[in-house]
């Protein structure tokens, strides 16, 4: 066992660090963290400028083929880059879904002319992509979606509604999953497309979240007309395309959201209980110790994943561990941090609350973390069924034509 980079990995890390040092300041944990998913025009401009600079230097699309502007590098290099970039003050990553999930799906299913037109602008941050899967009646059960795509001559016409679309309000293109045949069982009647978010018939309405921000959107389609060349995969093969997209989500496991265990330790040093630092209180110490054990376990689990990647293996569904643990721990740590503040715990004013309201912000954002990108419950099903091999829940609608049970939705 060792934690050293191979000579190649070390060289790449040094190169990445030199680029980051030359272009960004180091991250300062003491400074206020950006509120969750809040991207205004100025932040969007900063994000696009940073992406362009990364792309020019060969640090965007690290695992992508050179032919499409990528580095042709390894997943390990991507992880090394993520580790290094996490130490610097960089803009909010508005490209994560597009570059991490949408474009790789395009690469698997789209024809050459489409790739030549769209891949490089996406990599340079000029055009942003979103993913249009979830619907009001199809969240965890996404294959139960109702948005219709109907043939109309050579074209398709789309009507329906999507929801929870991250960043749709600033996105240029999207990956759409729609129902093309309601007369067959639900997984068999789907078709995937790429769409222009600015086309007539697409309306984006931001959702005002309980956290106060508006990161997610509703997207409505009214007679949206698509050319058949916008289809990805064969008609009826949409579920297979969607799985390609979702598989790519697994590599996008990042640092835990804040407040994390280090923030809690910092807070426990800063606030007093009975006249001494909270971190000297035995009850506080026991709580911190338990979360430390989980946090360390997760960090070292990532080393195991990195080792697998380094050997050319593909990480599997066990990566669901990180999201299950991080989301619930974020909520628990945020609530406990507020407990340490006593009567001031509920103060959310960034000018008055310790660490600029990091704990209060985290508490309000945490419920979303436990739902978005796979709920706690769905992730536990994934672990139970795909890792432990437990039998699937009986699904009464699985083999039934979709239009036989759809009215219940």
């Amino acid at each position: 066992m060792d934690f050293d980079d191979t000579p190649d990995e070390a060289a790449f890390r040094a190169e990445a660090r030199a680029f980051l040092d030359a272009n960004r300041p180091r991250k300062d944990r003491a400074r206020a963290a950006p509120r969750y998913g809040e991207v205004d025009a100025a932040e969007l401009a900063r994000a696009k400028a940073w992406q362009a600079r990364k792309a020019a230097a060969g640090f965007a699309g690290i695992t992508w083929p050179r032919e499409w502007g990528g580095r042709g590098g390894s997943p390990m290099q991507q992880i090394i880059w993520n580790q290094e970039e996490a130490g610097y003050d960089v803009p909010y990553d508005v490209f994560l879904i597009g570059l991490g999930m949408c474009i790789p799906t395009l690469m698997a299913y789209a024809g050459r002319p489409v790739l030549e037109r769209y891949v490089r602008p996406a990599l340079r941050g000029e055009e942003i992509w979103c993913q249009l899967f979830s619907e009001p009646a199809a969240g965890s059960d996404v294959a139960g979606l109702c948005t219709r795509a109907e043939r109309n001559g050579e074209d398709w016409v789309v009507n329906g509604q999507k929801v929870w679309t991250s960043g749709a309000h600033f996105c240029d293109f999207g990956l759409l999953l729609a129902r093309s045949d309601p007369a067959v069982p639900k997984h068999a009647g789907l078709t995937a497309f790429w769409i222009d978010m600015k086309a007539p018939g697409v309306e984006v309405r931001p959702i005002h979240q309980m956290s106060g921000g508006s990161h997610f959107n509703e997207v409505f389609f009214t007679d949206l007309r698509l050319a058949d060349r916008q289809r990805l995969g064969a008609p009826g093969q949409g579920w297979k395309v969607a799985l390609t997209t979702l598989m790519n989500e697994r590599l996008a496991v990042g640092e835990p959201r804040r407040p994390d265990i280090h923030d809690l330790i910092a807070l426990a040093r800063a606030v007093a209980i009975d006249g001494r630092p909270a971190i000297a209180d035995p009850a506080v110490r026991l709580k911190i110790a338990e979360w430390w054990a989980d946090s360390a376990g997760l960090a070292y689990t990532r080393f195991r994943t990195m080792t697998a990647l380094s050997r050319g293996q593909t990480p599997g569904p066990e990566n669901a561990i990180a999201k299950v643990v991080n989301a619930a721990r974020l909520q628990a740590i945020a609530a406990y941090g507020m407990d340490l503040l006593g009567q001031a715990g509920a103060i959310a004013d960034p000018a008055l609350a310790p660490m600029a309201g990091l704990f209060q912000d985290g508490l309000l954002a945490a419920p979303g973390q436990r739902i978005a990108g796979g709920t706690d419950e769905i992730l536990r099903n994934i672990i139970a069924e795909r890792v432990l091999g437990l039998p699937a829940e009986p699904r009464v609608d699985k083999d039934m034509p979709f239009n036989r049970h759809a009215p219940a939705r």
Partner: protein, 369 residues
Amino acid sequence: MNFAFSDDSRLLRDQARRFLAERCPASLVRAALDAAPPQAAALWREMAGLGWLGVGLPEAHGGAGLGAEALCVLAEELGRALAPVPFLSGRCLAAEAIAQCGSPAQQAAWLPRLAAGEATAAFALAEGAGDPSPGAIRARLRNGRIDGTKLPVADGMNADIAVIAAQDADGPVLALVDLAGPGVERQPMAMIDPSLPHANVTCRAAPAERLPGAAGWNAIAALLDRAAVPAAFAALGGASAALEMAVAYAKERHAFGRAIGSFQAIKHKLADVYVAVELARSNAWYACWALERDAGALPLAAATAKVSADAAFFQAAKENIQTHGGIGFTWDADPHLFYRRAMLLAHALGGPRFWKERMMAALETANAA
């Protein structure tokens, strides 16, 4: 990045798992609840024959020349099998104390015999309630003789010698005592896991010989850190086996017309156990690396591994019983063997509170540095 066990260690794991599947079935563990069966003693001798008792000990004294990885692999496999043998107390505490703190003469006298299984050694720190601390050691060493009562002492009835913690004029020390010698009285005591017998050992002017390297509490605490790593692996092995047993039963047992493992109530519970076990595994691996390579990182890594693994084992053991339902509460079913062992291991080197506090102290030291 190479955060994985070596090929040699993986071969050793396969060998150990095959050997223990044959020589240490659950029936042997259950038999050991009543009285130490002859097969347990035979198992210990065979382990010595395979060189397992000398793993990590110096080759000059009969050691097998393998390092921390091998020690941890064996601890995990013995933990999986719930082997009723004193590997943790005999190899990881007593022999380790002699190897780390003994004089050359003490090492030459005892390590070859311990490695060969010709003698066994116990480690006597606890004196009843309370976590390990210098103040909790009340036994006294004066003029080469020990007075005091130690309990519980793992393998205390059977062992030939014991490494005993006592106070001398300068503070806590460790000393070797011949348990068959004068001034030693031993009584068996009931434990939550009777498959690892313990004793109440009373010394009245029992002749004792200091381990010269063990002067002061820090030396004893360092031994606890070193032993916490294989102890965590033992718990990890038990936790993994208990989870596997629960998963197997959930696939096979049917209720309401379907396998109970298809119900989310069971799935989510077992998914949570899986998560706890995998986090514990990662923490244990890191501690193994620290044991082998980085003494500075060891206190925090060992405490983190111990806390994580003990919690995972208890969670896996209790949910294994729960998944089994009524049959899991019977003596003749195996789940209670894990439940008992989980609690024995969680208290063998000081309880969960002790290790959480030790983790915090190490964390503060690491942050201050």
